[in-house]
């Protein structure tokens, strides 16, 4: 695929309040840069992320969606991220089955102490999505920016 140098992907990051959102805050506190493409939505737990939110993001113009939660075993709610892991694994596998590019979606575990990991993950994810180009396979043409 041709890489458009000027392509600035829209990336939605769902972050759990207790670990990953705090991790994102920490990368801010530590002034660790990551691309402006990433916009964070705070959810109480990664298990709050409904597959329809992910599809909705792609429909409305997102080029990549990443979910971040506490490391397995560290969930503030004990088990939320374990459910997330199953649900999201199956969902991503289904999207792959439908021919959607694998690198458009990601699930990462980022703790409150991992500001550096958060920034690095977002940096990498943005690059991966940039390399894929705009989301065409799971977009709603009506929402494409004129």
């Amino acid at each position: 695929m041709q890489v458009n140098e000027n392509f600035e992907p829209v990336i939605v990051a769902f972050c759990c309040n207790w670990c990953s959102y705090a991790g994102a805050d920490l990368s801010g506190t530590n002034r660790l840069n990551y691309p402006t493409n990433v916009k964070i939505i705070r959810v109480p737990c990664s298990c709050r992320v409904n597959p329809m939110f992910i599809l909705r993001a792609f429909q409305k113009g997102a080029d990549g969606v990443i979910i971040c939660g506490c490391h397995p075993g560290d969930c503030h709610y004990t088990s939320g991220n374990y459910f997330t892991r199953r649900r999201i694994t199956l969902l991503y596998s289904m999207l792959d089955f439908l021919g959607i590019e694998r690198n458009r979606t990601r699930l990462e575990w980022v703790s409150a102490a991992e500001g550096a990991k958060f920034a690095a993950t977002m940096q990498q994810f943005t690059e991966d999505v940039k390399a894929l180009g705009p989301n065409r396979r799971l977009e709603d043409l009506r929402c494409r920016k004129q």
């Binding site: 599809l55 429909q59 397995p72 374990y82 694998r102 043409l141």
Partner: protein, 323 residues
């Protein structure tokens, strides 16, 4: 078998064991059979049918039927018993109100496969030693029985009844089916090829909701796609995205609950192989979280309602197959 079923149904009605019987009613032609509830011996004698075309899974009707007074007799094929069990497990069917008679399963015939051979004006279809003799307005035609069986029967997973109060005929075994063959074939394609395959298929969707409404796992009081409050309600696929979304979300909602009864693909007027989406989830669940057959029992925890601390990470998607 039909005679034995009618006889037994009449007995159970007569002795008051059941108040109603759910089965199939003959139609205008050889094949247009409708699920129906019978309450009298006369109705049974006149209309009850169980033949090569009685493929419809009646278990979903029991959700509605068991909300009524009295007990109902249900004739369930092996595949239907899985749906039944799953509905019992999800508290959708009141087990106490159903008397289940397990009957032998298919293979059942797919009239569309017969018509696809260019056979039209069909007056009757007879199975003579696994050759179908089809009387039509334009003369008699024949075709091999197995070329006309339903897709869901061709990849039958089990001849075993997982629940019954009594059996008519023999109980069978869980089969070593080849049902994941097509899923595997797709998995081995490139992402572009898969995308093209599904675009071609899902673009046919007219959102008639037949797949959803026939699905025994789709018994929601109000489906998210009909509920404006859900934010994803949607009546027609106005964009290719919506064609995809409906089927992804539907498959996800039944993931871990779908018994692979195959009704979705049977009823699709556009012949979209929807069961492949469900089977993909089943295959993934089996491979990633251990073999699981929804409806095999009424107590096990659904794979998406449980977890293992050592579950694989979603990166497993990247490690498998081709992109």
């Amino acid at each position: 078998m039909q005679e034995a079923m009618i006889k037994r149904a009449k007995e159970l009605l007569a002795d008051g064991s059941v108040d109603r019987v759910i089965g199939w009613k003959r139609g205008e032609f050889a094949y247009d059979i409708t699920p129906a509830v019978f309450t009298t011996a006369e109705e049974l004698d006149r209309d009850f049918v169980c033949d090569d075309f009685t493929a419809a899974n009646v278990s979903k009707y029991l959700v509605k039927e068991t909300q009524k007074e009295g007990k109902i007799l249900a004739f369930l094929k092996p595949c239907d018993t899985y749906s039944f069990n799953q509905l019992v497990k999800e508290h959708r069917i009141d087990r106490e109100k159903v008397y289940v008679i397990g009957i032998e399963g298919g293979p059942k015939l797919d009239i569309e496969k017969i018509k696809a051979k260019g056979i039209t004006g069909i007056l009757s279809v007879k199975n003579e030693d696994y050759t179908l003799k089809i009387e039509t307005i334009y003369g008699t035609q024949t075709m091999p029985f197995y070329e006309a069986i339903l897709g869901k029967c061709a990849s039958c997973k089990s001849k075993k009844h997982v629940v019954f109060d009594e059996l008519i005929g023999e109980d069978g075994d869980v089969l070593d089916s080849n049902r994941f063959e097509m899923v595997e074939k797709l998995e081995n394609m490139t992402a572009q090829e898969r995308f093209d395959f599904w675009r071609d298929q899902l673009s046919k969707c007219i959102r008639c909701n037949a797949c959803r409404n026939v699905c025994p796992a789709c018994t929601c009081e109000n489906c998210v796609f009909d509920n404006p409050k859900s934010g994803i309600d949607n009546k027609a696929p106005a964009d290719s995205f919506e064609e995809n979304m409906f089927h992804i979300i539907r498959a996800f909602h039944v993931a871990g609950r779908c018994t692979d009864c195959g009704e979705c693909s049977r009823v699709c007027p556009q012949h979209i192989p929807l069961h492949l989406l469900n089977r993909k989830f089943i295959k993934d669940i089996n491979e990633l979280y251990g073999e699981y057959q929804a409806g095999a029992d009424t107590t096990s925890r659904a794979p998406l309602n449980t977890y293992d601390k050592n579950d694989c990470e979603p990166s497993v998607v990247h490690e498998r197959g081709v992109e």
